[in-house]
Amino acid sequence: MLLDPAIRDWVLIPIMIVMVLVGVVRHQVTVLLNGTPKKADLKSARETKALQRCGLLRAHGVHIPEHAFHGRKAFLSEAFEKGTYLKETNTGNKPRGNVMQDPAYVETMMDGMKKNMMNIVPQTVIMGWINFFFSGFVLVKLPFPLTVRFKGMLQRGVETHDMDVSWVSSLSWYFLNLFGLQSVFTLILGSGHAADAMRDMQAMSTMGMGAAAGPNLSPTGQPQDMHKIFLAEKENLDLTEHEWGLENVETRLLVKYGKKPASVLLDQKKAKIAKLAGRQATKEFAAVAAPSAAAANASRKKGRRQV
């Protein structure tokens, strides 16, 4: 079997050129559509920073003395409870309205839609064009043999059983280009271009929401209730116990300069653990004692009521 050279000049190369050009145009249009990045809002920045502040206090509270830690803990606990750092202070317990009326949310949705449209429209048009004019064309013969399994990949649109697998159909040539032109685009447009079809496909499969989501949108795209997050963080903070890093710094320094044997530090550690264990035991005892006391109280009340 021989291929007409006109097929090479009028089908094979034009498909490739069209696909490259469409990719470049897509890149430019995406750049235009994206426009200026969305301006951050002072209040939402404050909201996220407050969470960060709490996290830092929990992680690095070791470095500040006892009184400083407890002062901050009390302050943050109260602030989180009251919602001082919330963007809108009064929405704390109000039922949330329709998300579609939230302009920020709609905007994110629109962004995702726009990106998807930019992906779908040109690809559909090119595929339609190839299907309409060149369906059933055989364009290339690969210079190497392949197994029958590749038939589906290389001869889409040409349903013959007997043709050798190394012949490539027009539709398959389109797909090969779609996935293979990535590095060509990188050459033309530099890295980080928007002509990449593969990336868009991935974006499409996750509905394009992952990357577009703002700071207070969850991965599913729903706005989160920050007050709840704050309350959860407050709980974390309440559970954090302060352990000061400088408790035994004098001993550590003396050991460092060789004035005391290193075993002193170890002894101190052991003593501390023993002390902690002791405190734990008393706490458990208290926990066991408390419910029984409460029960006794309740029964007393009941008794009074009956009287």
Binding site: R46, R53, L246, E250, T251, R252, L253, L254
Partner: protein
């Protein structure tokens, strides 16, 4: 030329403030036009050299850089902030303030402009306004340790030690590995007569930076004060008497050894230090 660009890049990455080096390396780059070969980095170099030139008082160079940036990025808030800094350097504080205000009206989250505004208030001699502006800024940009340091300085100028100590605690949480910050906190505590806590902080300084002279002096002063004072009421938190004596001894020993090292200090300061240590 490549080396100069590399050094400038390293300085940018580490955020070190070495205006003399930057101007010495950057000036020939900009004067010869070689900087444009760096592509996108060129504009970063322009910005870096502009700020360094302002630091060094080389107004002509700064103006040249800023004008180049202005033609490349007209109306950019980052360039306008540089123009504001240039106005500040030439003493036109009110005009610079107007520029920062305009930037913040467009984008209230602009960190650079709000920081400049605070410093402008300080330069104008309005410390209390500067403090309230900085407090407002830190309420949002909590993680900016430089801001907290600046606030601590402002409070120290006003002799408000408790507030300054609070700021230093925030700095310690953000940058716990820097012994200089521990030293500053320790000295504030010492000034507040909180010798027990100050001693621990001074110990931390010496622990982080071996043979830190100022830290050793701090230990010595705190230890001798605590030894002279009556034993404190809450004995649990306090350092034991033996430990205090050991600390005092250690600090004395290290200080004498440090000053005694050949070529470490001039003879007169050596004598003065030894005398002081003996008195304590």
């Amino acid at each position: 030329m490549v080396n100069a660009a590399k050094v400038l890049q390293d300085l940018r990455a580490s955020a070190e403030r070495k205006p003399d080096v930057v101007v010495r390396l950057g000036k020939p780059l900009i004067d010869s036009g070689a900087v444009l070969k760096l592509d996108a980095d060129a504009w970063l170099v322009y910005e870096q050299v502009a700020i360094a030139a302002l630091d060094m008082g080389d107004d002509a160079l700064a103006l040249k850089c800023i004008q180049a940036l202005e033609t490349k990025f007209p109306g950019s808030p980052r360039v306008r902030r540089l123009q504001g800094m240039q106005l500040e350097a030439s003493g036109k504080l009110a005009e610079a303030g107007l520029i920062y205000k305009a930037i913040l009206e467009e984008d209230e989250t602009n960190v650079l402009a709000s920081k400049r505004q605070v410093m402008l208030l300080r330069a104008m001699g309005l410390p209390s306004e500067a403090i309230s502006a900085l407090v407002k800024y830190l309420d949002i940009n909590y993680t900016d340790f430089e801001g907290w340091l600046q606030l601590a300085d402002l409070y120290l100028d006003e002799l408000m030690y408790a507030q300054a100590a609070f700021c230093m605690e925030e700095v310690l949480m953000l940058q716990p590995q820097n012994h200089i910050f521990h030293l500053k906190y320790a000295e504030i505590l010492y000034t507040q007569d909180n010798f027990q806590l100050a001693l621990k902080q001074f110990c931390r300084v010496v622990e982080l930076c071996r043979d830190h002279v100022r830290g050793l002096y701090g230990i010595k002063m705190c230890a001798s004060r605590l030894l002279k004072a009556a034993p404190s009421k809450d004995a649990a938190a306090a350092t034991s008497h033996e430990d205090l004596e050991a600390m005092d001894l250690l600090a004395t020993e290290r200080l004498i050894a440090l000053y005694g090292a050949p070529g470490a200090a001039a003879e007169s300061s050596k004598v003065a230090a030894t005398k002081w240590i003996e008195i304590q």
